[in-house]
């Protein structure tokens, strides 16, 4: 991998964790995973997904396995969706973001139900909406930056 791309993914990881601290409940690394699946070799999303999985598992309050389900479902949605849509289409990202927001709401609810936890539903709803809105916007920004990295064939 080119050094510019290594720097890009490292900075994305740092910025994502920082933003997750500012806006808790929202996954800022998920758009990066989709972008890696679209633009990089298959080994890159596997490595990034593995690292980010441990970050999410360690920082969250759910038992181990919640992150695997989360990123597994995201990858599944992407692979299912890109048979039906153009993978780099912004509309597809809007739909994927909406699905991710709904999945956040359902997923946390189910996990809390299984563990007999009470959760604050109002906040969960707000987080789901935030996730649905932030995902396509962040993906668009990352897509533009990634295509202007030095050495990229799309770069002017």
């Amino acid at each position: 991998m080119r050094p510019a791309r290594i720097v890009f993914w490292a900075l994305l990881t740092l910025a994502g964790v920082w933003l997750q601290n500012i806006v808790p409940g929202v996954d800022f690394l998920a758009p990066g995973l989709i972008l890696a699946m679209q633009e990089e070799k298959w080994t890159v999303p596997v490595w990034l997904g593995g690292i980010w999985l441990f970050i999410q598992e360690g920082t969250g309050s759910m038992p181990f396995g919640a992150g695997i389900l989360w990123y597994g479902a995201l990858a599944g949605l992407y692979f299912f969706g890109h048979w039906l849509f153009e993978a780099r289409n912004f509309l597809f990202m809007l739909i994927l973001g909406a699905c991710l927001g709904a999945m956040h709401f359902l997923f946390i609810n189910v996990m809390a139900l299984l563990q007999d936890w009470s959760i604050y539903l109002d906040r969960l709803g707000v987080e789901a909406v935030q996730q649905a809105l932030i995902f396509p916007i962040e993906w668009g920004l990352l897509y533009l930056i990634h295509h202007h990295l030095p050495g990229d064939p799309h770069a002017a």
Binding site: Q20, G25, V26, Q56, G58, T59, S61, I108
Partner: protein
């Protein structure tokens, strides 16, 4: 002479202030650098002073008897999509002797308890989380209840306080220690409102936590004095350790009756009807079954070719005992 001196001073001053600027620029640059350095040092010192003040407050926290405290730094608040609970992360984990359910306090009062562990970090469940419930007692009127979290930016509720129980607004709620997680007497919250809710048997009481979650930077973990000596504690539910025994004999956690047999097997005998003492008014217990008669030896001449036969014969006494017991049981009923 004086006017001459005055003129000389004025001229020299005019020369040095307005005309002779050799080295002024370099001196200016150097002073600016020194000023930047001093500003940074001042900011660092202010930060240190603030930290010292916070740590001093934590050190001023007097742990209850048989408890010790250890300060921990908060390294992150809620973070990521899986942060469903009101939690934060601290920089102490199982490698520092932290165990699940260990109390976490601030100089103002109870903050929460340890929810889960890793070797170098621990997740703390705040008392404001809806899954947190702490038995408390009001400091002045000694009214008991359970404090329950209601979520972020919401006040806590005090549950199960009967109508008519004395409690006042502004009263501090302290831990009662009934759940054996928190030591008794730690301040938890302050009562803000008291009311009624319809036909409920209990009062509707709200209380404000004594800390602001987002402003916390350091907290103190409370260790049981004997647990703090062990550097690595098992990651399990807290178990109240027994007090040190003067003798070296191992202490059994199972309480056995004084007339119990020393071996394990005869304890089964306690379940037999003969061993259970009669309840008052139920009369005498049914008689204990007589010892089983020993089977008569089977003559080898009768059936020499069937080795399994003696076993069958041996079972027979048990069957006969069963039949003999059955009517005795019906009599007892």
């Amino acid at each position: 002479m004086a006017p001459g001196k005055w003129v000389h001073e004025q001229v020299a001053s005019f020369w040095s202030r307005y005309l002779y600027f050799v080295g002024i620029r370099q001196q200016n640059d150097q002073l600016r650098l020194e000023l930047d350095s001093a500003k940074k040092e001042l900011a660092d010192l202010r930060e240190n002073a603030s930290e010292v003040e916070r740590l001093r407050q934590i050190l001023s926290l007097t742990p209850p008897i048989d408890w010790t405290r250890r300060a921990a730094r908060i390294i992150s608040h809620r973070l990521g999509p899986n942060a469903a609970l009101e939690t934060f992360l601290i920089d102490k984990g199982s490698a520092h002797g932290v165990s699940v359910n260990m109390p976490v306090v601030s100089p103002d009062g109870v903050v929460g308890r340890v929810l889960r562990l890793s070797p170098t970090a621990a997740t703390i469940l705040l008392i404001t989380d809806p899954n947190s419930r702490i038995p408390v007692v009001s400091q002045k009127n000694r009214t008991q209840g359970i404090v329950k979290g209601e979520g972020p930016t919401k006040e806590l509720t005090l549950q199960y306080v009967p109508q008519g129980a004395p409690i006042e607004e502004g009263e501090v709620l302290v831990t009662s220690g009934l759940e054996e997680i928190f030591p008794k007497g730690l301040p938890v919250a302050k009562v803000t409102s008291i009311g009624r809710s319809g036909s409920s048997l209990f009062q509707l009481i709200h209380a404000a936590p004594l800390f602001t979650p987002r402003q916390l930077e350091e907290v103190a973990l409370l260790f049981k004095a004997n647990a703090a000596a062990v550097p690595v504690a098992p990651a399990a539910a807290p178990v109240v350790a027994p007090p040190p025994q003067p003798t070296t004999a191992p202490v059994s956690p199972i309480i056995t009756p004084p007339n119990a047999a020393p071996t394990g097997k005869p304890q089964k005998g306690l379940k037999t009807p003969a061993a259970i003492p009669p309840a008052p008014g139920q009369g005498a217990p049914p008689p204990a079954p007589a010892p089983a008669p020993t089977p008569a030896p089977v003559p080898a001449v009768v059936e020499p070719a069937k080795p399994a036969k003696p076993a069958k014969k041996a079972d027979k006494p048990a069957e006969s005992e069963k039949k003999r017991r059955k009517p005795a049981r019906t009599e007892g009923q």
